[in-house]
């Protein structure tokens, strides 16, 4: 008697946690347990369809978009003058890793590192500049231009960085076929 109440309570609880009412009449279902041999027979009558179906893990039928698709790495034809090294700031280790990632041909990785660095030091003009470089390497010259502008807007009187920005800007404009702007930026 005990166990029938138990099972029913357990079941009810599982599927309808709030329904306390249903926990009571547990006995009924067990008194009416169907004759097992019949069931077994029925199952034996079944067409032999006992094919093992692998359990399918839920798939993700969504298009995959990777930032680091293997595009050929674009390198500025004229080397962009190296801005001064970042010595301080809480995100300097990320900046250093981004530099390495970019140098080793992983601009997408560099981009993610720099976005993280910019979350910590949002107004660091050098991080924005390196982000522009990582966009250039991925062939996104439009964003290269924009990030150069952004870097420029925060560069203050960091002349070395401004020079790097101008050089990269010029090359990005050339890639975009905008010689007029390219000329302008070199000045």
């Amino acid at each position: 008697m005990e166990f029938s109440t138990r099972s029913a309570a357990g079941w009810n609880d599982r599927s309808h946690p709030r329904s306390a009412m249903a926990q009571r009449n547990g006995l009924i279902s067990f008194r009416r347990r169907p004759p097992l041999p019949l069931l077994l027979l029925v199952v034996l009558v079944l067409p032999s369809c006992a094919i093992q179906h692998p359990v399918q893990r839920p798939g993700t039928p969504v298009p995959i978009e990777r930032p680091d698709v293997p595009v050929p790495i674009e390198r500025p034809q004229v080397p962009v003058p190296q801005p001064p090294a970042v010595q301080s700031g809480p995100a300097r280790s990320l900046y250093a890793s981004a530099n390495e990632a970019l140098a080793s041909g992983h601009p997408g990785q560099a981009e993610m590192l720099l976005e993280r660095a910019l979350r910590i030091e949002p107004r660091n003009a050098q991080y924005w500049h390196l982000l522009a470089q990582s966009k250039y390497a991925q062939g996104d010259f439009g964003q290269t231009v924009q990030f150069c502008h952004k870097s420029e807007s925060l560069a203050g009187n960091n002349n070395k960085l401004r020079q790097s920005n101008r050089s990269l800007l010029q090359q990005a404009y050339r890639k975009l076929g905008d010689t007029e702007q390219a000329e302008k930026s070199s000045r």
């Binding site: 166990f3 029938s4 109440t5 138990r6 099972s7 309570a9 357990g10 079941w11 009810n12 609880d13 599982r14 599927s15 309808h16 946690p17 709030r18 329904s19 249903a22 926990q23 279902s29 169907p34 097992l36 069931l39 077994l40 029925v42 199952v43 009558v45 079944l46 369809c49 006992a50 093992q52 179906h53 359990v55 399918q56 839920p58 798939g59 993700t60 039928p61 969504v62 298009p63 995959i64 978009e65 930032p67 809480p90 300097r92 280790s93 990785q109 993610m112 976005e115 993280r116 910019l118 979350r119 910590i120 949002p122 982000l131 924009q146 502008h149 952004k150 420029e152 807007s153 925060l154």
Partner: protein, 755 residues
């Protein structure tokens, strides 16, 4: 003969009935079989999308109090543990924390678990080292808090585990309690029914169930709660079918992920994985014997044995399970004693933070449904990394409601509602969002859906247009009455808030004091269409009719849309789409989509610099002067107040060195709220931002800016080189009379044109 005939007839009738019965049953079984395969092979578990807050980055110098760090850790599901034994544990010793971060797969790769010691002092992080060493770490990030999930089925969440992730002790205990013969039977076990009966009689209590795990699974998966003979037989058939089609381990795994183990408010807790997080704040693999015993014991009746609601019954049930564990040799005597003595207390703290930020989650959901079909979004176990900053969100929730309650102490202000959007000033990430003053009440999200006239918040667009047309901050503007006739409308005679005319005023002061007449006159001079173009470049979307009333903010926008416009100002003239999602990963943690930074320069930095300087004057000497009650004037914050007709809407938008915040206050029924931008939204803004210890606002000065005094009384103001007043024009003040004459001519022509 007759007898034989009758017998034959009887036999054939019986045979025919049997054949018919078999046929009907076979068809029925086939139907069930199809159902099972459909369920098991298709979407066995519809996996909810999991939503994460931003990870907390820790580095020396970061402003952080010990309490906030503890709150962050608790939100991320970390547990206090004096041993700091496993990933996800922490120990706080005054202002020093030892913790073990958890592995986390970021889009950029796996960040492995790390043991670190974080010491704080004076409200900042002082040092981070690897625990037990003196190696300083420049930067670590704590794996992000799971803040919610999107599920196709209502209010269900799951942490899906595979067979290898189920601890052996759990599996053995589960089988000992629920189904000892699991690996031997074929879905239903006649003998176990009797064994269970005897065991229960012997123990004098219910220690064993009679249904096999497979039957329980079949029941939970496929059948409603009706309790009939038909259902019981269906359940048995399905159990047999499940066993025919699938291996024991698949069934066991399905059971472990499906089993119902309690309620978390409106959400059902299914599966051991989620239950472990919910009751113990740790991963299933880290559970101790007493905790496993508690969970397995709860299967019998999750609400009756709920450790929070019925701790005494829960303890009793746990003891029964522990005794069985000892009998089966799963625990030795000392382990058994130790487990028996463990208190339940760890299970009694409710896991904080789950679906706790409904307005923000709603925004995330809105964004995702633009790109994903609902079923992909809800059912495929996507991992969604968001930009939510819990520290900012907590302050928003705390101060919005509190300040509104304080405002309601004044007569004539009732039923105030509000919305807040806070973003990162430079990268446009949405850090916090309030859709109403009651943060947990899911419902109308005012931040994303309440479109209200924005009033004077539009004015920066007017003044920026002026600056782009060669005006300077000192250019004189006429604050004089104007009456306008728009076709099909009454003649419109806008007024200043103080109902006075201020005559000729310098441009920056007209903005600082939010003079309506000056703005209308200026805007008409510039051209309403030009101002609309500026507003669109700032981020205004949708079509607006070019009526002069646009100049005073009749355009209706949501707080989020306003925030997008001001983002362009705050970030120095760079438009960037605001983002609440940083990336979306698949259930297997591969990156599906990243929402990276992108910017677009829309205004020359010089013009924005001038405008933002004027917005600083709004705070230092204009309509937002009261902000200094909350944040020292030396922070040089920039902002703009907004109020609409009859005090229906109260707005404040402004930015600090690090964040942009937009606040709207008003009533849902659009009745007068009795507050201006400065008396309603501003105090809310001030309270929230003060609590966030804002960085002072330093505008980066572009090259080619000259500072000069416009006249003897004016502040030192920036000018684009070449536009600054000549030194001899400073004393006496500029010849206003001439300018007045010239501009009056233009005004008159426009007025005539309008009339």
């Amino acid at each position: 003969m007759n007898m034989t005939k009758t017998r034959l007839a009887l036999i054939s009738t019986v045979a025919a009935t049997l054949v018919l019965l078999t046929l009907v049953l076979s068809l029925h079984v086939l139907r069930l079989d199809k159902m099972i395969k459909g369920k098991f092979d298709g979407k066995l578990w519809s996996l909810p999308a999991e939503v994460y807050a931003r990870p907390l980055e820790l580095y020396p110098g970061l402003g952080l109090t010990p309490q906030t760090l503890e709150d962050e850790l608790e939100l991320a599901g970390y547990r206090q543990d004096s041993q700091v034994a496993a990933a996800g544990a922490y120990r706080r010793n005054g202002t020093t924390f030892d913790l073990v971060t958890r592995d986390f797969q970021y889009p950029s790769g796996l960040e492995p678990s790390e043991r670190v010691t974080v010491s704080l002092a004076g409200g900042t992080v002082r040092e981070i080292t690897r625990t037990g060493t003196s190696t300083p770490l420049p930067l670590i990030r704590i794996d992000p808090a799971r803040i919610g999930s999107f599920h196709a089925l209502e209010h269900e969440g799951r942490i899906l585990l595979n067979r290898s992730e189920l601890p052996e002790l759990l599996v053995k205990t589960l089988l000992a309690i629920e189904d000892q013969n699991f690996y031997a039977h074929h879905g239903i076990a006649v003998r176990s029914i009797f064994r269970a009966l005897f065991a229960n009689i012997r123990a004098g209590a219910t220690v064993q169930g009679a249904s096999t795990l497979t039957q329980q699974l079949a029941k939970n998966f496929f059948l409603s709660n009706e309790r009939t003979l038909l259902r019981k037989s269906n359940e048995a058939i399905m159990a047999l079918l499940l066993e025919m089609h699938y291996g024991k381990d698949d069934i066991l795994t399905a059971y472990a992920n499906e089993i119902f183990l309690g309620q978390d408010g409106g959400r059902a807790v299914h599966g051991f994985g989620l239950a472990s997080r919910f009751y113990f704040r740790r991963d299933l693999a880290d559970l101790t014997a007493d905790q496993i015993a508690m969970l397995v014991g709860m299967i019998k009746a999750p609400s009756a044995y709920d450790p929070r609601k019925n701790p005494a019954d829960c303890l009793k049930r746990r003891a029964v399970v522990l005794t069985v564990m000892r009998e089966h040799g799963l625990l030795n005597e000392s382990q058994f004693q130790q487990a028996m003595n463990e208190p339940l207390d760890k299970a009694t703290q409710v896991m904080k933070g789950f679906n706790r930020f409904p307005a923000f989650l709603d925004l995330v959901h809105q964004q995702l449904t633009k790109e994903y079909r609902e079923e992909d979004l809800n059912g495929n176990g996507l991992k969604i990394l968001t930009t939510l900053d819990p520290q900012v969100q907590w302050q928003v929730e705390k101060h919005l409601d509190r300040t509104l309650s304080a405002l309601e102490q004044h007569a004539g202000r009732q039923q105030l509602e509000g919305a807040v959007v806070i973003t990162n000033r430079e990268n446009g990430e949405i850090l916090a969002l309030a859709g109403g003053r009651k943060p947990y009440a899911a419902g109308f999200n005012r931040a994303t859906h309440a479109k209200r006239p924005i009033g004077s918040l539009i004015k920066p667009a007017v003044y920026l247009t002026a600056l782009s047309q060669g005006y300077t901050l000192m250019s004189p503007v006429q604050d004089k009455a104007v009456s306008l006739k728009e076709q099909g409308h009454e003649t419109w005679r806008p007024q200043n808030f103080d109902q006075k005319e201020h005559g000729q005023v310098p441009l920056y002061l007209a903005l600082a004091h939010s003079y309506n007449l000056a703005t209308i006159n200026l805007g008409l001079e510039l051209g309403v269409d030009k101002v609309i173009a500026t507003a669109k470049s700032l981020g205004l979307t949708g079509e607006v009719a070019a009526y002069p009333s646009f100049l005073l903010g009749t355009a209706e926008m949501t707080p989020l849309e306003v925030s997008q416009m001001y983002q362009t100002l705050a970030s120095g003239g760079f438009f960037q789409p605001q983002r609440c999602i940083s990336s979306v990963m698949g259930a297997d943690r591969t990156l599906l989509k990243r929402y990276g930074l992108s910017v677009e320069q829309r205004f020359p930095p010089e013009q924005i610099f001038l405008l933002n300087t004027a917005l600083q004057h709004v705070v230092s000497e204009g309509t937002a002067h009261a902000l200094s009650r909350y944040i020292p004037a030396s922070h040089n914050l920039a902002g703009k107040t907004g109020t609409t007709n009859d005090l229906r809407d109260s707005w404040f938008a402004g930015f600090t060195g690090d964040r942009l915040a937009v606040v709207w206050i008003g009533r849902d029924d659009n009745q007068p709220a009795g507050i201006t931008g400065a008396t309603g939204a501003l105090p809310v803004w001030g309270e929230i931002m003060r609590a966030l210890h804002p960085q002072p606002l330093e505008l980066t000065e572009p090259s080619g800016i000259q500072w000069a005094r416009g006249n003897a009384d004016s502040a030192s103001l920036p000018f684009i080189a070449g536009t600054e007043p000549a030194p001899d024009s400073v004393h006496p003040p500029i010849d206003m009379q001439t300018i007045k004459k010239e501009t009056n001519g233009i005004f008159n022509s426009i007025r005539r044109w309008l009339e």
